[in-house]
């Protein structure tokens, strides 16, 4: 019996092989750029969420990382080769870009240490619900902040982005076994922290 893995929620049906830029024809390059633009726009919200996770929830830094990642994609410095889904590949690019930005800006890295501190969200129509949500988020972020970076990454990819552990492993450039270990240990620790922090 052949087993097939469930594709991630935002799986792009056909690999975008033509995105490997060849300057053969101007018209095809224009079309490729348009297609690329469309794919990036579709994934923009998820990319922003992932960039936030990679930048210790620093919104400004996450935006800069996204800018750099988009530039890399458009300039052809990062090329999609169709070996994974476009989203998995893009997330890998964002992760590496975030690591580069962090190396460049050590001051920001120190600021990002305040992982658990988040800006209060828009209270909305019901202040009580909003406050409760904000507290739950703060608890989650605080618990996440206490995990090892790899554990945090794999949990973010699986639970926030609905990725399989296999896809998460591809984004993180680790083996499936390693990703699974980080996932199991991270999940157990996160639940422990959340339970401990519960009133």
């Amino acid at each position: 019996m052949a087993l097939t893995l469930n594709p991630p929620a935002c799986h792009i049906s056909a690999p975008i092989l033509p995105l490997i830029s060849t300057n053969a024809q101007k018209s095809s390059v224009t079309m490729e750029r348009a297609q690329l633009d469309s794919e990036l726009e579709d994934l923009h919200a998820a990319s922003f969420g992932w960039a936030l996770a990679c930048c210790g929830r620093d919104r400004e830094e996450a935006e800069e990382v996204l800018q750099s990642a988009y530039l890399k994609v458009f300039a052809g410095k990062a090329r999609f080769d169709g070996r994974s889904t476009f989203r998995t590949w893009l997330f890998g690019v964002i992760r590496l870009t975030a690591a580069e930005e962090r190396r460049r800006n050590i001051v920001r890295r120190l600021r990002a240490a305040a992982y658990a501190v988040i800006a209060p969200s828009d209270p909305g129509p019901d202040p009580n619900t909003a406050l409760e949500n904000a507290q739950r988020q703060e608890r989650l972020l605080s618990a996440l902040g206490e995990l090892a970076p790899r554990q945090r990454e794999v949990l973010q990819l699986v639970f926030y982005h609905d990725m399989t552990i296999e896809d998460a492993a591809a984004v993180m450039s680790v083996s499936l076994g390693t990703a699974r270990t980080h996932y199991e240990r991270g999940k157990a620790r996160l639940l422990e922290k959340l339970t401990a922090g519960r009133p």
Binding site: H44, L52, E63, L66, Q67, Y70, S121, N133, L141, F159
Partner: protein, 131 residues
């Protein structure tokens, strides 16, 4: 029947979904991010310049610290040498009181075949009022 593991997963998914909703509320527009990226590519100088200025400032601070440190440590022996010699040659004004009369006798082993008066005579002579 729902296993505890499934329940935990569902709880985590719910928490992350709330976080995702909150993040979406702060989501910058795709076009705006792209435009900023392109602007950054067109005018990379300001960032590079700021990095250069920071690097230069850091070099100046490090150089000043090194020079200051060296001066401090090179000057220290120069100041300390005369101080050490003056300290070594210092004499107490009341030190004379420690010189007891006849202390020379106590420094040497007594000789059984000679008189102590013989040894003291020259001193007595030279110090006497008639000399």
């Amino acid at each position: 029947m729902i296993s505890p593991d499934d329940r935990d997963d569902a709880e985590l998914r719910e928490l992350f979904a709330e976080l995702r909703t909150a993040d979406r509320a702060e989501l910058p527009r795709y076009r705006a991010v792209l435009e900023q990226a392109l602007a950054r590519r067109r005018f990379p100088d300001s960032r590079a310049r700021s990095l250069t200025v920071r690097a230069a400032a850091a070099v100046v601070v490090v150089a000043a610290s090194v020079i200051g440190y060296q001066r401090l440590h090179h000057d220290a022996p120069r100041h300390s040498a005369p101080a050490a010699s003056s300290l070594a040659s210092w004499k107490s004004p009341t030190g004379i009181l420690l010189h007891t009369p006849g202390r020379e006798l106590l420094r040497e082993v007594p000789d059984l075949n000679s008189s102590i008066l013989d040894r003291m005579t020259p001193t007595t002579k030279s110090e006497g009022p008639g000399s």
